[in-house]
Structure formats: structure tokens, C-alpha cells
């Protein structure tokens, strides 16, 4: 069953300057999709389109077989969760208080979380391995812990689809590895995951499918093995690429190894 399906979707903020051009793909439920591409390629816009916050000018988006427009906001918020890279809070919420916010779709405007919601929040924290942080302030967490807590909040929504915007961007290796493990566990629990990244290597570790984006157009959609290909990557990133295959996995480096990985 297809969790997400896009057909010929286009979108522009300013008329005449499309940010997303004719993107089409279909993702089965319980799979992980990586949106890969340099900054400015339209990854975040695409996520917002899938979230339903933006409406496509052309084309169709279907969630679990239904057009996205046919869902009410309330229904959609119980299906799709969003975990952004950063959650800047001006006040010192505890981790638990923050994760409980994810229960909003299930609460009426006059309601506050109850015991059921507490249970869900606790479970969400467990799924991301952050239950031990529940009484800490959000602002006191490390980058990796914070990212996981943000995911936990999205999980409290009990979403079928989880969207993550650049989750790995500011994490060190240890945290990246932790996060990718969490994503894998979630996949095993049947959650469909879509995450955006500009780092090709993270995709090969965990993604089932990769959508290679360049300037809003889909260059390729398929398993990492197909997409992580030298020519395509070079034309996407505009720098010479070296592809290394080892133990059945593909790894990507810029050609001049000494140069630090720069955002293109």
C-alpha cells in the first residue's frame, strides 16, 4: 500500500519561478525515503508540500491513497508528523511538557493532556530512547538528545508518516548513528519515514529509497544503489565525486579529499 504518492507536482513561491518542478514518485508504507540534494534544491519545500502546509500549483499528492486536500486538518495531523531540525523555544519547557504538545491533534481546543496522553508521551520517549531525559529542560540538552526529543514529540502524534527536516545536520557521528538506529527501529514498527539530507552517505545506511533533487527537479528516484551514481551526483552537486563501494555499500566523497565537505 502506498503511503505517499506524488504526480507531476510543481510549486513556486513567486509566480514564474518554480521551486519544485514536476516531481513524481510513490513510496510504500513502512519504508524510509531520503530526499537528497544540495541546499536550495527544494527539499524543505517538498516536505512542506507533503505536510500539506503548501499547496501544489500543479499535480497531485496522495496520502494513503487519498488526495491530501480531502483530509481535514485534524485528520492529517494524526497521520503526518514533522520533526524540524531546530526547535527554538523561548521558555524552559521540560522534555515531557514538550513531547506532550504532540498530543494536540487528539485534544479538543478546551482540553489539556490526560493520563492517556501521558502514556503516549512516555511511549514516544521510549521509542527514541530519551525517557530518562523527561524532566530535563529542553534547552539543556545536547544537539543529539534534542533532535531525538523533537522526534519523540512528533511520534506522540502517532503518525503513519514521519517527516524530518535535515535531522543529521548538526550531529556528531555518535548522535548520527543513534538517530539512524532510531529511524530503523521506527521503520520496523511500521512508520513511513521521509527525511531530507544533503549528505549522500547517510542515505545509503538507512534509506530504502532516495529522491535525488537538483534545483527542484527530480533527477532520480530509486534505491540508494541506483541513485548514488557518480555522474548523477556530479551533475547534482557540481563537484567531482568519488564513489567507493565496500561491503556492498556505496560511499561518496568529493574528489579532492583534503577539501572539507562544503555545502554546494
Amino acid at each position: 500500500m502506498s503511503a505517499l504518492s506524488l504526480s507531476e507536482v510543481s510549486f513556486s513561491y513567486i509566480p514564474g519561478e518554480p521551486v519544485i518542478k514536476d516531481v513524481s514518485f510513490s513510496l510504500e508504507s513502512g519504508r524510509i525515503l531520503a530526499l537528497l540534494g544540495p541546499n536550495g534544491s527544494g527539499k524543505t519545500t517538498l516536505l512542506h508540500l507533503i505536510l500539506g502546509q503548501l499547496s501544489p500549483e500543479k499535480g497531485k499528492i496522495e496520502i494513503f491513497g487519498r488526495e491530501i486536500r480531502s483530509y481535514s486538518r485534524s485528520e492529517l495531523s494524526k497521520i503526518i508528523g514533522l520533526a524540524r531540525q531546530e526547535e527554538r523555544v523561548a521558555f524552559e519547557f521540560t522534555v515531557l511538557e514538550y513531547v506532550l504538545l504532540g498530543r494536540a491533534p487528539y485534544l479538543g481546543p478546551l482540553e489539556a493532556p490526560g493520563s492517556e496522553d501521558y502514556k503516549m508521551a512516555v511511549q514516544a520517549l521510549e521509542r527514541t530512547g530519551t525517557l530518562h531525559l523527561q524532566d530535563r529542560f529542553l534547552t539543556s540538552l545536547s544537539g543529539g538528545e534534542k533532535q531525538l526529543v523533537i522526534i519523540a514529540r512528533a511520534l506522540a502524534q502517532m503518525p503513519g508518516i514521519l517527516l524530518l527536516d535535515e535531522p543529521l545536520a548538526h550531529l556528531d557521528l555518535k548522535n548520527q548513528s543513534m538517530l539512524l538506529e532510531v529511524l530503523e527501529n521506527l521503520r520496523e514498527q511500521g512508520v513511513t519515514i521521509i527525511f531530507s539530507t544533503h549528505d549522500p552517505n547517510s542515505t545509503s545506511i538507512v534509506a530504502d529509497q532516495v529522491l535525488l533533487l537538483r534545483k527542484g527537479s527530480s533527477l532520480q528516484f530509486g534505491p540508494p544503489g541506483d541513485v548514488l551514481e557518480k555522474e548523477k551526483l556530479q551533475s547534482t552537486y557540481g563537484v567531482p565525486i568519488r564513489v567507493l563501494e565496500t561491503e556492498g555499500e556505496r560511499y561518496v566523497f568529493p574528489e579532492n579529499g583534503r577539501r572539507r565537505k562544503r555545502v554546494v
Binding site: 505536510l51 502546509q53 495531523s77 524540524r84 526547535e87 521558555f91 524552559e92 482540553e111 489539556a112 493520563s115
Partner: protein, 344 residues
């Protein structure tokens, strides 16, 4: 797994009850202080009087019923309104340094009320409505201006814009006062800019309550959702909330009561700034608890200050002076404490 979730959930519930208990304690304290302040004043004797002294004297009874009681109620409402508004503004603008007096709301309301008094006859109802409109205008201008500034982060820009708009409207009140024919009965500038409840009576209470109580009540009912409005727009959207619309509704609900209170009490500052901070320190940042806590603590603070204003000296001390003095003092205490919680 399920057992763990249950026990954890129970623990959270207990915590929640503890916080509710704290808030109930605040409410009780407010009630007690209200009753006590009925016995405080300048008649029959300065400072504290015994209940017998009051009940045995028809004049004292008349004073308590027709003057002290409405004034006490107004001070409670004033404190609750300013604090509630402070909580809302701070959360919506994700800025712990704002209050209605910093964002042009109070000053706009004072300006609107002055206009109503000079040009529109100055009936209490007209004054309140025009004050509300200008209060909203003040906020709108502050936000609009903040968006156009190019200096500093959002927090700084909003505060700067708010100060500019506030100053503009304050000056406007000054100009109106200067130009206005005193035949039109424009209250003294000191009243507007420093606040005061010395003219309180039941008439004002009756006119203020329909604007203030429903708004505060609605805000109270939706208090948990205020937390969501502190989140980023996309995140809020993903949670099924309409951030734009809900923010506007919440802002209107918090600005209108403030404007109405300003038209009867003048501009009283600092309450909306520090009470939310103190509440957050005592019950946490979750508006589910910090909102009602702010209501009661704010009411208590204003009651305390106004009781001093009307009792300490033979003449009235403007309320705004006391709230600023005591408020700024508390503010400094909070800032200079080693464990600086509640601030980001």
C-alpha cells in the same frame, strides 16, 4: 512496556496534581487577602480596622460596600488582566521581555480613551471600545514596525519597536491633554501615565466585567494550547493548529481586556512583565499551569500595591509608581539570582 508507561503516567499525574494544588493555594491566598484588605484603609482609622469597627458604623459600612469593595475588585481584575496578557504576549512573541506596556497596547489604549473623552462624549462604554481599538492598533503597529527593522534579533526588534510605538502614543496623550479644553474633563496626565484606582466605583466594575471576565475565562479554557503557539509555524501546523488565526484570536482576547482596564485605571506597568516570570519559576513554563498561576499572582500583586496606594499616606500614591518600584525590585532580584531559571 505498558506497565512502565502506566507507572510513569501516574507519576506525571501526581506531579500535575501538585501543581494544581499550588495554584489552588494561590487562589486561596487571593481570597484571604481580599477579605483582609476590606479591613484596611484610612477610615475609621488609618491602616487596619477591626470588623466590629466597620459594622458598628454605618458610614464605614457604606465606605466598604460602595468604595473599598469595588476598588478591590478592580485591582484584582487589573492584576489578573495584565498578567494574563503578559503571559500570552510573551508566549506568542516568544519573548520573555514583553508586556502590554512595552508593545504599545497600554499607551494606545490611553490615547484612544483620551480621544473618546474629548471628541466622543466620554461615556464609559464608548471610552472602553475606543480604547480597545487603539490598544489593538498599538500592538499591530509594534509588530509591523518590528518586522521592518533590520537591526538585531527578533526579541530585540520587537522590544525596540514596542518602545517607539509606546512613546508615540504616550506623547499623543500628552498633546491631547495640553490642547484639550479642561471643560471636556480629560483626567490628569499623571493618571494616564502612572495609573490609579482612586476613582473606583461599582459603575466601573459593571462596565469592565463584561469585557474582561469572558476574555480571561476563554483564555483560561484554552490555556494549554498557548504552548503550541510558542512553536514554529510549521510544527504548529503539523499539530493541526492554525497558527495565524489562533494567534490573532488569542492576541485579541488578551489585548481587549487590557485596553478596557487602562481606560479605567490608567497605565500600570511592570505587572505584565514580572508576574509571568514569577509564575514560571513557581509552576514551570507550561501555560496549563503558568497561566492560572499568573492570574492569581497578578491579582494578588495589584491588590497589594493598590492597598498601599490608598492607605499608606493621607494622599493617593499613583498605582503605577508602586508597581514599578516593587516590580522593578523583584525583577532585579530575579535577574541577579545565581540559579537563573525561567530565562533563555
Amino acid at each position: 512496556m505498558k506497565d512502565l508507561a502506566s507507572t510513569q503516567s501516574k507519576r506525571i499525574e501526581v506531579r500535575s496534581r501538585v501543581l494544581l494544588g499550588k495554584i489552588a493555594l494561590f487562589a486561596l491566598f487571593v481570597l484571604l487577602c481580599t477579605l483582609l484588605s476590606l479591613l484596611v484603609g484610612r477610615y475609621p482609622a488609618p491602616y487596619v480596622q477591626s470588623p466590629q469597627a466597620i459594622f458598628s458604623d454605618p458610614m464605614a459600612l457604606n465606605l466598604v460596600v460602595n468604595y473599598r469593595l469595588p476598588r478591590i475588585l478592580l485591582s484584582l481584575l487589573l492584576g489578573a488582566t495584565l498578567s494574563a496578557s503578559g503571559v500570552v504576549l510573551q508566549m506568542i512573541f516568544r519573548n520573555p521581555l514583553v508586556e502590554p506596556g512595552f508593545l504599545g497596547v497600554s499607551q494606545g489604549a490611553a490615547f484612544g480613551a483620551s480621544l473618546a473623552i474629548i471628541f466622543l462624549g466620554g461615556s464609559l462604554l464608548t471610552t472602553e471600545i475606543v480604547a480597545a481599538l487603539f490598544g489593538i492598533l498599538g500592538l499591530f503597529l509594534s509588530v509591523f514596525l518590528a518586522r521592518r527593522l533590520r537591526y538585531g534579533g527578533w526579541v530585540l526588534r520587537l522590544v525596540l519597536a514596542g518602545i517607539a510605538v509606546s512613546a508615540l502614543f504616550s506623547a499623543g496623550v500628552g498633546v491631547l491633554k495640553y490642547l484639550a479644553d479642561p471643560l471636556k474633563q480629560l483626567p490628569e496626565i499623571t493618571f494616564w501615565l502612572l495609573g490609579g484606582l482612586w476613582g473606583s466605583d461599582w459603575h466601573q466594575v459593571i462596565y469592565v466585567v463584561p469585557f474582561v471576565l469572558p476574555a480571561l475565562f476563554i483564555l483560561y479554557l484554552i490555556r494549554w494550547r498557548l504552548n503550541i503557539l510558542t512553536l514554529d509555524e510549521s510544527t504548529a501546523f503539523s499539530l493541526g493548529v492554525r497558527p495565524g488565526k489562533e494567534k490573532m484570536l488569542v492576541l485579541a482576547l488578551s489585548v481587549i481586556p487590557v485596553a478596557v482596564m487602562v481606560s479605567v485605571a490608567g497605565i500600570v506597568g511592570w505587572v505584565g512583565l514580572i508576574i509571568p516570570h514569577i509564575s514560571r519559576k513557581l509552576v514551570g513554563a507550561n501555560s496549563q499551569f503558568s497561566f492560572p498561576a499568573s492570574l492569581f499572582l497578578g491579582a494578588l500583586f495589584c491588590l497589594f500595591c493598590d492597598t498601599i496606594a490608598r492607605t499608606l499616606l493621607w494622599g493617593e500614591i499613583p498605582l503605577g509608581i508602586l508597581t514599578s518600584l516593587i516590580g522593578a525590585f523583584i525583577f532585579l532580584l530575579i535577574l541577579t539570582r545565581p540559579s537563573s531559571r525561567g530565562f533563555v
